[in-house]
């Protein structure tokens, strides 16, 4: 299509890939953390809670810089990841996904935690009396019941990932085809005089994509909610 240049198509594809991976990978972890925060009693719980909210509180540039300090190839953790798993984050779309995932993480955790706190522990108790271990109770009772919260968290995370830019560009910079996501492309266009229309085109595209995801999620959530409320 001539509507978008090949580079722009690349940015769209990359944005989707980054956002999907970020959401998919962060979600299980977010569920775990939400569970720990909602149900757990352990020292340092408030610290974990604070840590989770950090990407929300910090200006994205700072988050990006901290990521660089932590996951850069020269950084201890980044080096270890590379040595052990051959995993390179810096200047790769994987790093963009990491940044996007981290930026959306607090949103996911909050939504899921809220849903977990709304689950009636009496149902979980009932499942336990029927022979379900804690893991099974979680898988068969808690998880289905918090599905609306998980969907909400995933939507927030995905939307955030689609819009994330500050942390991403600071951490993995902007390499067309590898780390140039839609927001970076939009940002670049906004920096030069007269490119507003091109920027707007990409904005419209980004909004369309996210809206599609949103509608889909509403459908899924409605179905999940119907399952729970009966009928």
């Amino acid at each position: 299509m001539s509507f978008l240049s090949p580079a722009e198509w690349q940015a769209v594809a990359l944005s989707l890939r980054v956002s999907l991976w970020a959401t998919a990978l962060a979600l299980p972890l977010a569920i775990g953390v939400a569970l720990a925060l909602a149900r757990g009693h352990f020292p340092g719980k408030q610290l974990l809670n604070g840590l989770v909210h950090l990407p929300l509180i910090l200006p994205p540039v700072v988050t990006g810089y901290l990521l660089l300090l932590t996951f850069g190839r020269r950084a201890p953790l980044g080096g270890w990841l590379y040595d052990t798993f051959g995993l390179v984050l810096a200047f790769r779309w994987t790093g963009a996904a990491l940044a996007a995932g981290i930026m959306g993480f607090p949103l996911m955790v909050r939504a899921i935690r809220l849903a977990i706190e709304a689950v009636d522990p009496k149902l979980e108790q009932a499942a336990a009396t029927l022979g379900a271990s804690r893991a099974w109770v979680f898988a068969t009772i808690t998880l289905p019941l918090i599905l609306p919260g998980i969907i909400a968290g995933a939507v927030l995370g995905f939307a955030k990932a689609m819009g994330e830019f500050g942390a991403t560009i600071t951490f993995v910079s902007n390499i067309p085809g590898q780390t140039q996501t839609l927001p970076s492309a939009i940002y670049a266009l906004l920096q030069v005089p007269g490119a507003e229309t091109s920027a707007l085109k990409l904005v419209a595209l980004s909004v369309t994509l996210a809206m599609g995801a949103l509608l889909l999620s509403e459908l899924l959530a409605r179905r999940a909610a119907k399952r729970v409320s009966g009928a």
């Binding site: 560009i169 910079s173 902007n174 970076s184 670049a188």
Partner: protein, 237 residues
């Protein structure tokens, strides 16, 4: 603006130097300068939207041109305030200087690493850098290895952290960071002149604004700018 107060919209990269200069001016005159540091593009748009600014200092000429053609500048007040140089930097202290010619094998110097630059189509330092590399005939071979950031400071950070072995930044940036070495300075003719134009805005209500602009161009001020690595504007006079 209150009496004796001038609001200056200035490109973010000028912060340290400009803070110092305006403090001096305030001391001398008893007036105050309020400085708002944002990227040039955002500042220009804000001025278009009616921002209560008196003085605008841009990091490139494009945005100033746009404001000028929109009639948002006080006629005749525009001046090229500063210049800057573009340098190739490397991570760490132990680097042999290189000569920037078309013979330079930049890719092999880089190895598998990246060349950190500001956005090559959007951010001035990136635009200049690309122009210079193109002028030297080095661009095509190096383009796939360029990692662009949203501002020149982020590019500097990548080199300072060693994530990218080399980068292209302003001389002012390189001077301030001990963890990078200047490998070479790009010849002034390899890229369009790097100028920081300044102008009093048409909507300015502060009578002291032209005076401040004049002070910024004074030798006292220029000494401070030079200390921070800026140069005199190239096309001045």
């Amino acid at each position: 603006a209150t009496a004796g107060q001038v609001t200056v919209f200035a490109a973010a990269s000028l912060k340290t130097a400009l803070d110092e200069v305006t403090a001096l001016w305030a001391q001398d005159t008893g007036n105050t300068a309020t400085l708002s540091f944002v990227g040039s593009s955002a500042l220009a748009r804000q001025i278009e939207a009616g921002a209560p600014a008196d003085l605008f200092i841009s990091a490139n000429t494009d945005w100033m041109d746009r404001l000028e053609s929109a009639g948002l500048l006080q006629p005749g007040s525009r001046a090229d305030l500063l210049g800057n140089a573009l340098v190739l930097i490397g991570h760490g202290a132990d680097h042999a200087p290189v000569t920037l010619t078309s013979q330079l094998d930049l890719p092999s110097l880089l190895g598998p690493g990246k060349l950190a630059m500001a956005l090559i189509d959007a951010v001035p330092a990136g635009i200049y850098g690309k122009a210079a590399l193109t002028h030297l005939g080095l661009w095509n071979s190096i383009a796939p290895q360029v990692a662009q950031t949203d501002n020149v400071r982020a590019a500097l950070a990548l080199v300072a952290r060693g994530e990218a072995p080399m980068g292209i930044v302003y001389a002012t940036d390189a001077a301030a960071d001990p963890s990078v070495t200047v490998l070479a300075e790009f010849p002034a003719d390899s890229h369009p002149p790097i100028t920081y134009p300044a102008a009093v805005l048409a909507d300015s209500t502060a009578p002291e604004a032209p005076a401040l602009l004049t002070f910024l161009q004074s030798p006292t001020a220029m000494a401070i700018f030079l200390r921070h690595g800026f140069t005199k504007p190239q096309a001045a006079e």
